[in-house]
């Protein structure tokens, strides 16, 4: 530590001197490593998503990935560290606009990882777009988000326009279901996804239902599913509702395949549904942990568990922003930097199209087996 200090102090002085001369170099990596009060921007990146509340697990998985990226960066740039600012929306769209304003007003924040969910994205993103604050979502999958002309919107994973058809394809080709029941939770995410599945499966859909978020008793829905004779059920929604739903269905003796999407890819689903969760198929545009072994090892070393849903995507989103900071970008110039970004990340090649969608899209299927979520391969 002492030796680095000895080395860093003259460097910092040099940087100060350079700054005083009015040089604003930033093309190479060297100046960023120097730091010092004047050259260092004390930049922050924001983490926008559910960190508490019933959906907190999904937010925390992302936050862990972001923290790992920050550690990597700060190890390389010990004199000019970037810090994380948390915007805990609890996944609630009504809280999102106020948090967005808070992030915008903090001029040190040069980019946002998130918003994590689609509903809160819809509520917060217009403000970000207006303020020119770039936001890269590692998890919001509603396709319509990209159609709003928000110049600041980027998404490092496939949206539900790819996940929905993949889920439908899996139900048709692998589960080989002939009668499918579709339930959604009326949320931006769940309904959007369920509608795509309904459309793709066409006449094999034998029934539909819509439930409410926070609902716990699904007596009527269970009756509808069992009465329809469905051999597969697709649920568009999140784990707090998915767990009691499948539990009550299994209690009523329903034997079909339960298919859900990334919103349920969360250990709490298994903890709460227990035996009823077994055999559940989960589709997800998230890359399985074993695809990036180095990332997996680093994550495990820090958090003592395997990377979970969207941890890798969170890491990638943060890395893009941190690369921007290393290249001397600030809030205003960050948007163009992200737009022209093209580097391999831990989950995929990170390159965006004109609408801010990542170009390299894959959807994977997972299965609940023995109380764990295991990957059963890409849905092609």
């Amino acid at each position: 530590m002492r030796s680095t200090l000895k080395f860093a102090v003259p460097l910092a002085v040099a940087a100060l001197a350079l700054g005083a001369c009015g040089t604003t170099g930033g093309t190479s990596n060297a100046p960023a490593a120097s730091g010092g009060a004047a050259a260092c921007g004390d930049y922050k990146i924001g983490m926008f998503g559910a960190l508490t509340g019933p959906n907190a697990n999904l937010g925390i998985y992302i936050q862990n990935g972001v923290n790992l990226a920050l550690d990597d960066y700060n190890k390389k740039h010990p004199d000019c560290k970037v810090t994380l600012e948390n915007y805990d929306s609890q996944g609630d769209p009504t809280q999102a606009p106020a948090l967005a304003k808070k992030a915008i007003d903090d001029k040190k924040v040069v980019g946002i990882v998130g918003p994590a969910f689609s509903g809160e994205s819809k509520a917060a993103n217009p403000a970000f777009a207006e303020a020119g604050l770039v936001h890269i979502t590692p998890s919001a999958t509603n396709p319509k988000l990209a159609d709003n002309g928000w110049k600041t919107f980027f998404r490092v994973l496939g949206n539900d326009a790819t996940q929905g058809p993949a889920a439908a394809k899996y139900i048709k080709d692998t589960v080989k279901a002939t009668k499918v029941f579709v339930i959604d939770d009326a949320s931006e995410y769940g309904k959007g996804l369920a509608d795509i599945v309904r459309q793709d499966l066409g006449s094999t859909v034998v029934g539909n239902d819509t439930i409410q978020q926070k609902q716990t008793d699904f007596g009527a829905s269970v009756t509808k599913v069992t009465a329809s004779g469905a051999d597969a059920l697709f649920f568009g929604g999140y784990s707090p509702e998915a767990a009691p739903l499948i539990k009550q269905l299994r209690d009523a003796g329903w034997k079909g395949t339960f298919v859900v999407a990334d919103g349920v890819k969360d250990q709490s689903f298994i903890d709460n549904a227990q035996a009823a969760a077994e055999g559940t198929i989960i589709t997800c545009p998230c890359v399985p942990a074993d695809v990036a072994p180095a990332f997996q090892a680093a994550y495990k070393a820090k958090f003592n568990e395997d990377p979970n849903t969207y941890s890798g995507e969170g890491y990638d989103s943060a890395t893009i922003l941190l690369d921007g900071i290393a290249a001397g970008k600030d809030r205003a110039t960050m948007v163009d930097f992200v737009k022209s970004y093209d580097k391999p990340g831990v989950t995929k090649q990170l390159k965006f199209d004109a609408k801010g969608e990542v170009t390299d899209v894959k959807v994977f299927a997972y299965k609940v087996e023995g109380g764990k979520i295991v990957s059963v391969g890409e849905i092609k």
């Binding site: 239902d209 409410q212 007596g219 009756t223 767990a243 209690d251 009523a252």
Partner: protein, 329 residues
């Protein structure tokens, strides 16, 4: 509509099991209203603490799936003991600290109502933040299994296997369905008899009818009120066990919506009327299920409250009228 006719029995039985839970929680609202003319909005939290107590006792004793009948009976008995104790205790504490000081100072009823709403938030948030609270006391290592992810839902271990017992109209009625409906009705009959025949029950009715006259006749009002809260809490504890067996999970905010529904059931049946609470609970449970079947599950709360308004338009005091004191209930 055809769907409702085809699945009438399935919807009826599941509606009744939910209605049984509503009814038991509704009793707490009704009893307290009867003696104090106060809507105890924190009663939903009394219920929620009961669900956690029942869950924790099973976790603590290491309950798992696959036990024999004897074990299942043991688990359920333990759940009842834990939930009723916890809920009864919370209800009594609530009365002691949130309401009695106000009553002693002759605070207007509105103040007590605000105290009720406040107590409800405090109790729910304490449960929702239990992870942090336990960490302050330094017990988080010992209690991790009970407090981790305290804002998330927690599931009851699969201690009771639901098995079909007999089939009615194409619906396989399970052991749990029967247990919940029969159990709830039995508990209500016991309560009804308690209020009707026991000395304390007579005291409750006397205070409900005319508090001052009751006091003149030597009824200890504070004691009666305390017992009323205790009885309401114990009922909520029983409801909590039935709820857990039926739904399988609970969460720190599980009481809120259920409390609103149970309060609705109490008003529907005639607040202050014990039999009304029973009837209101069952009617509401059935209406929600039938409504979900006819117009879609997302409308179930709308159906419930439209029903409430319609009934109150024609019978402003509820189905059976307000009568803890007046009638014989």
């Amino acid at each position: 509509m055809q769907f409702l006719i085809d699945n009438f029995w399935a919807l009826t039985i599941t509606g009744l099991t939910l209605g049984a839970v509503y009814a038991l929680v509704a009793l707490g609202y009704t009893l307290v209203y009867g003696v104090l003319r106060l809507i105890n909005f924190a009663h939903s939290e009394v219920f929620m603490y009961g669900t956690f107590a029942a869950l924790w006792v099973v976790m603590f004793l290491g309950g798992k799936a696959g036990g024999g009948t004897g074990q299942v009976i043991f688990w359920i008995a333990m759940m009842f003991v834990a939930a009723m104790t916890m809920s009864g205790l919370i209800a009594v504490l609530l009365e002691r600290f949130a309401y009695r000081p106000l009553r002693k100072r002759n605070a207007p009823p509105l103040i007590a109502l605000i105290s009720a709403v406040g107590a409800s938030f405090v109790l729910a948030e304490v449960m929702g933040l239990r992870e942090k609270i336990v960490a302050w006391v330094g017990l988080d290592d010992n209690l991790r299994a009970y407090v981790r992810n305290s804002r998330n839902a927690v599931g009851l271990p699969d201690i009771v296997a639901k098995e079909p017992v007999f089939t009615v109209g194409g619906y396989a009625v399970t052991n749990v369905d029967i247990f919940v409906i029969v159990g709830a009705i039995t508990i209500m009959v016991i309560l009804d008899q308690f209020v009707k025949r026991s000395r304390l029950g007579r005291g409750i009715r006397a205070v409900a009818q005319d508090p001052e006259a009751a006091a003149l006749m030597g009824v200890n009002r504070d004691r009666v009120i305390q017992v009323t809260f205790l009885v309401g809490g114990v009922m909520a504890g029983a409801a909590a066990v039935f709820y857990l067996l039926r739904i399988g999970i609970t969460r720190y905010d599980a009481g809120f919506l259920l409390g609103v529904k149970a309060f609705t059931a109490a008003v529907l049946g005639g607040i202050g009327n014990l039999r009304g609470a029973l009837l209101g609970g069952f009617v509401l449970g059935l209406a929600e299920n039938y409504g979900s079947a006819i117009v879609g599950t997302q409308w179930k709360d709308v159906v419930a409250f439209v029903l409430l308004i319609v009934i109150l338009l024609f019978r402003p005091t509820g189905l059976l009228g307000e009568s803890l004191g007046k009638a014989r209930a």
